[in-house]
Assembly symmetry: C2
């Protein structure tokens, strides 16, 4: 098994090597004119300054938790926490460093061809994607190797399990802060900038006269690139860890180690298939950008489908070996088909997301059509689409649970989610591609490059909009499918602690904990969990609104006090907006981020005092499912709805023909109404919605750690 | 016990008598000038025409279901269904008939004094309120008497229980159609009318030049009055029935009949206290309208608090009698305190709703402030408030579950919800007051009455806004608190059927059904239930959007083709808008209404085919809780958010002073932005949000009936 682990480490190293090589190739590309570089430098400086301040703030919280983890759970958990936190931060930091250098080169490449721009932008995304998957895989595998080989712990030893869970916690903690802080920054700038620039002053997006425009481009990098990378890193790590914990607890003793290494092996294989897949992304003769990207995804998917067979065979030795877990009997083939189900689910979620957010489809057209009757109907229809868009993904997840559970029980669900997330390298590449093209467009506009260039970058950007929505649907979908795995990790841990409790310990004599829906404390837990995504969503929307209002006030002030800006004779003070947003985002991210960290503890203690230990454990467990049941819908509705609003606005840019045959263009009243919807969708899709995913995970991880601490 | 039942019938009759007497007094009031009566007649005709067509459509569906009920469940269930449906329709129909006659009289009374207008408007609301409670009480009590006395069935006989559940189903079915159809009509008119009138043409609300203005006033009556009355009638009846079913199943044999009559007795007593309470509504020297209404609520609450003691004593004979249900031991005093808890919860929900939707409070002010920076930030902040507003009510409900369950187990929760809903007479009076004052304002505007009159009706209308939000929070709150009662009715029924199944029957050998969260089919059920409110919300928002767009197109056409309308020289064609909306609303209400009716059956059959009976029952049960867990939050967020948007807009009417000390008035850019938010909030608070409540109930009732059918 050690050989397998070293091979997995090799896969992780390979992805890092891929990152280094590709970055070198990227940096060798032409970095454009002096003016372009000047703009790009301003964006880079702003982004790095923000990230430094964000990490400094998180570090303060992190050190407190590190010490607490050490005292409560021991040195190995503390080290695990540190590894998770540092690697999560590193994935975001490095990805963003590449992205802020790629933007100007993509803009330059787009001056000659669309294919050239696509190539560079996608490569930049792929670096981030493969770093997320590679670092995640390396972190878990190397630490697992160190603990079990050098330090000699048994793989299923509580020390190892606690250390892995703590590693997940480190990743989660960074991720919630990064998602939220970055999201508030980017959308504060975007919403604020658009409202004064586009709506009031009537100047285009990214116009250099808008004082918020550099901040907007900084935001793309710190939110959509660094924040997203931290989020997916966390999803990847937590899912692998949860499946490993499950394997350690529920599988028969002779299969525990195999079951723990399996998720890592799937991850390793899919890192390789993702690397190969990146080379399939080439613009065909049709010039279909989305098609080019999907070639990469499809190649990765098909190769993974093939690669999973030898993986299962190598791990289990015999594909027809009968594995019995409780009443469930399955074979490695069953697990293989669970992996296939995970890939199919990924494909379906991509397809559904594209349907709901893509231009020229019913949902987006209905929003564009509603814009013709005004701002109000635009927003109403957008909300309608956002609510409706939750149904199909939920049905896919439901089907996924039924199929994979029927195939191989709980562990089957785990294998499906792990396989789904094993594609993260490729999927994150699609997403990280978005902010780079968005920035490239901004640079082209601000540097006054010819219109054809802007047309190329706009074409790339429009696709980026949908791919961004896809990743979010994918991340939250995996959380929905993984709900039972996370919950099972909790319940199995709990019953193990109760069954093995020594007299006098906390778990002694707790008896059986009922998770029956007929138990009022279970319903209380479900309701409490259910309220978290709503409250969290409300808090983060408020934060963006406040940041955006501050930007509006600042931009209006600059326009008023310095009339030369609008005439194009003086340069606006870009730095002030960046600075202001940095402070606002950091300040606003603290309280909502602590909500999911503290809630499980508060619920547990409150119910413990009122109704005793068994009720408290039941309520805490139910809370974990409650947060997923509402969180899934809140997150999907926000991310898909926001994407649909955005593309409804884009529909007007090439002229939208309504049901009566009239065509409406940019600048029409209908277009203005669609800008309002887009503005509303911004914090929906890029702040509140995506942050629900790490929120769900962190709640689950805290519950697991709470059990470990009480033990 | 028969004497008690006859006394309860007497209470019900008294409420009907109150309705007749009060209506006579109302009709005796001055009906204003000929012009006012002309407008009022147009509104009345439109409303009655709509309601006729709506009931005809429902009747078609109803007859099909009636026949099905007869064939599947027997004659008594079919009659029960008919009683529930007819009474629910009657409550809405009569209430609306009073309301369309009261509107013009309130406008006339407001020409002399605010107090006079308030008095008439509240009396009109009180008629609807007491009819809802009185007819509900009469329907259940009389049918229960007939079945147990004349027909000689034992109170706990399945025939009686099935008949009562079917009665609840009849009420639910009418209610979902009425809420949705009325909601689509009223908000289609309101949104469409506002968007062309206020935003485009810049004419005030209810301006006679707006072709949609009569339709808007018709909508207030068919949606906010008739639809709301049907909804609350259903909530009242279903809650009483569910508690009766629970009593019949879980209480010890000697207490079953008492437990079944107790909810009716509480209802009877509270009808009396509500009637007395209405006489406490008097405008004090301070002229505080809200204060006057709350005097009535407070009086009713305090009197009910007192009346509950003799009720418990009369029912149980001894207040310290020990009642044992399973492991739970309680006394009539415990049940009394559960009732008190129900009243406290009602009070807290009113207080929280007022906080989130009242003018001059943080939430509404934050939306008004956000309007200053534009349409987008207004909507973002409104959504933030709507999401946030769910937290406190959910916590109150959680506390309610814990307290009442600790006091007296499941039956205690039932008593709390029944007591909460026993105040429906008074609470509905507050709500039905809203559309009357809204109409009165419209009539005053259209008839060109002096500004002081409009000021009086506006003052009444602003209060109506908050009271409308209160009722919705109250209805959905009771559903949240009652979740466990409804779920228990299902699980207890199920285990009874399984335990007593004859060989060869459907329930034979099903074994124990696990509702544990660790069961994947339970999670599947939760997720499926969870998606219903989202999908339903999306469908109803789309329906309103479509109706509103049609109105916008029609109004624009009239303005364009007939320029005399805006000059005030020709009258617009009001009838066309009313007609168009009638057809649209009826057409659009069908599919979403059938969603909760068919979903439980589809889920049950699908899981039955995949995984067998036990899994299917588990998934169906979990679905009932899933629909409540997300439905509670979706409904509260929509109704509170919509109310807050509406009052944020109203803040500008008297001038809103922002944080920099600047004051913004009606007609300012900020005010326009606030109108967009109000438009978005309209279908949120008056269509999609409130319809979630009957949707939850109907899902539960269908599940109960499914068990009865399979039996």
């Amino acid at each position: 098994m050690n050989l397998a682990l070293w091979l997995i480490v090799a896969c992780g190293v390979l992805s890092v090597v891929y990152g280094i090589v590709t970055t070198r190739a990227l940096l060798a590309a032409n970095a454009g004119t002096a003016r372009m570089q000047e703009i790009s430098n301003a964006v880079r400086e702003g982004a790095i300054a923000y990230l430094k301040r964000q990490y400094t703030t998180i570090a303060i919280v992190g050190v407190v938790i590190l010490v607490a983890a050490w005292l409560l759970l021991g040195i190995y958990a503390a080290i695990g926490f540190l590894i998770g936190a540092v690697l999560s931060g590193a994935a975001g930091f490095i990805g963003m460093h590449v992205s802020v250098r790629a933007n100007v080169r993509v803009a330059q490449a787009a001056t000659t061809s669309l294919a050239g721009g696509l190539d560079l932008a996608f490569k930049s995304g792929a670096v981030t994607g493969l770093l997320v998957a590679g670092l995640g895989l390396l972190g878990v595998t190397v630490y697992f190797l160190v603990l079990t080989t050098w330090l000699g712990f048994a793989a299923t030893d509580r020390v190892v399990i606690d250390a892995l869970v703590a590693l997940g916690f480190g990743a989660s903690l960074i991720s919630i802060f990064a998602r939220l802080g970055g999201g508030i920054f980017t959308k504060g700038a975007d919403v604020g900038g658009d409202m004064v620039g586009k709506v009031e002053a009537g100047i285009p997006e990214d116009d250099p006269r808008n004082p918020a425009t550099i901040a907007d481009n900084v935001g793309d990098n710190v939110g959509d690139c660094a924040g997203m990378a931290a989020d997916l890193f966390e999803t990847y790590v937590v899912t692998i860890v949860a499946t490993m914990v499950l394997a350690a607890i529920i599988l028969p003793p002779d299969l525990q180690l195999i079951g723990m290494v399996l998720p890592l092996a799937i991850g390793g294989a899919c890192v390789l298939t993702s690397i190969i897949g990146t080379y399939f992304v080439k613009l065909g003769a049709s010039g279909n950008i989305m098609g080019a990207l999907y070639k990469g995804v499809l190649a990765t998917g098909v190769l993974s489908l093939i690669a999973l067979v030898p993986i299962m065979w190598l791990m289990f030795g015999d594909m027809d070996r009968v594995i019995a877990v409780g009443d469930t009997v399955f074979t490695p083939w069953s697990l293989y088909f669970c992996g296939v189900a995970g890939l199919v689910i990924t494909g379906l979620i991509i397809w559904i997301t594209e349907y709901y957010t893509g231009t020229n489809r019913r949902p987006v057209n209905s929003i564009a059509e509603a814009s013709i009757t005004g701002h109000g109907t635009n927003v109403i229809q957008g909300l309608a689409v956002s609510l409706e868009s939750t149904a199909l993904p939920a049905l896919v997840i439901i089907a996924g649970i039924i199929v994979t559970y029927s195939l191989a029980g709980l562990f089957g669900i785990g294998v499906a989610v792990v396989t789904m997330l094993a594609l993260a390298g490729m999927i994150v590449a699609l997403d990280a591609f978005g902010p780079v093209t968005d920035n490239a467009g901004g640079i082209a506009e601000m540097a006054g490059l010819p219109d054809e260039v802007r047309k190329n970058t706009d074409a790339l950007d429009a696709v980026g909009n949908t791919t961004k929505a896809v990743t979010k649907g994918y991340a939250i979908g995996s959380a929905g499918l993984g709900a039972l795995v996370l919950f099972a990790a909790y319940t199995q841990d709990l019953s193990y602690f109760i069954a093995t409790a020594a007299e006098g310990s906390f778990f002694f004599g707790v008896g059986e904990v009922s998770f029956s829906l007929a138990d009022p404390y279970v319903v209380v837990g479900l309701l409490f969990g259910g309220l978290l995504p709503f409250l969290f969503g409300g808090m983060s929307m408020t934060a963006v609104g406040r940041a955006a209002q501050a930007v509006v006030v600042e931009v209006r002030r600059q326009f008023r006090e310095n009339p030369g800006i609008m005439e194009g004779t003086t340069k606006p003070d870009y730095g002030r907006a960046v600075d202001m947003l940095t402070k606002a985002a950091i300040r606003e991210m603290i309280v909502p981020s602590l909500l999911p960290v503290l809630s499980p503890i508060v619920v547990f203690v409150a119910i413990l005092l009122i109704a005793g230990k068994a009720a408290a454990f039941a309520a805490l467990g139910a809370m974990l499912l409650g947060v997923i049941v509402t969180g899934l819908f809140v997150a999907i509705s926000m991310t898909a709805g926001g994407g649909a609003w955005d593309n409804a606005k884009k529909s007007f840019e090439d002229g939208f023909t309504d049901s009566t045959g009239q065509t409406h263009y940019k600048g029409s009243e209908a277009h203005k109404a669609s800008v309002t919807g887009d503005t509303v969708g911004d914090p929906y899709k890029d702040t509140a919605g995506p942050a629900v995913n790490p929120m769900i995970k962190i709640t689950n991880i805290i519950a697991l750690l709470l059990l470990a601490v009480l033990h």
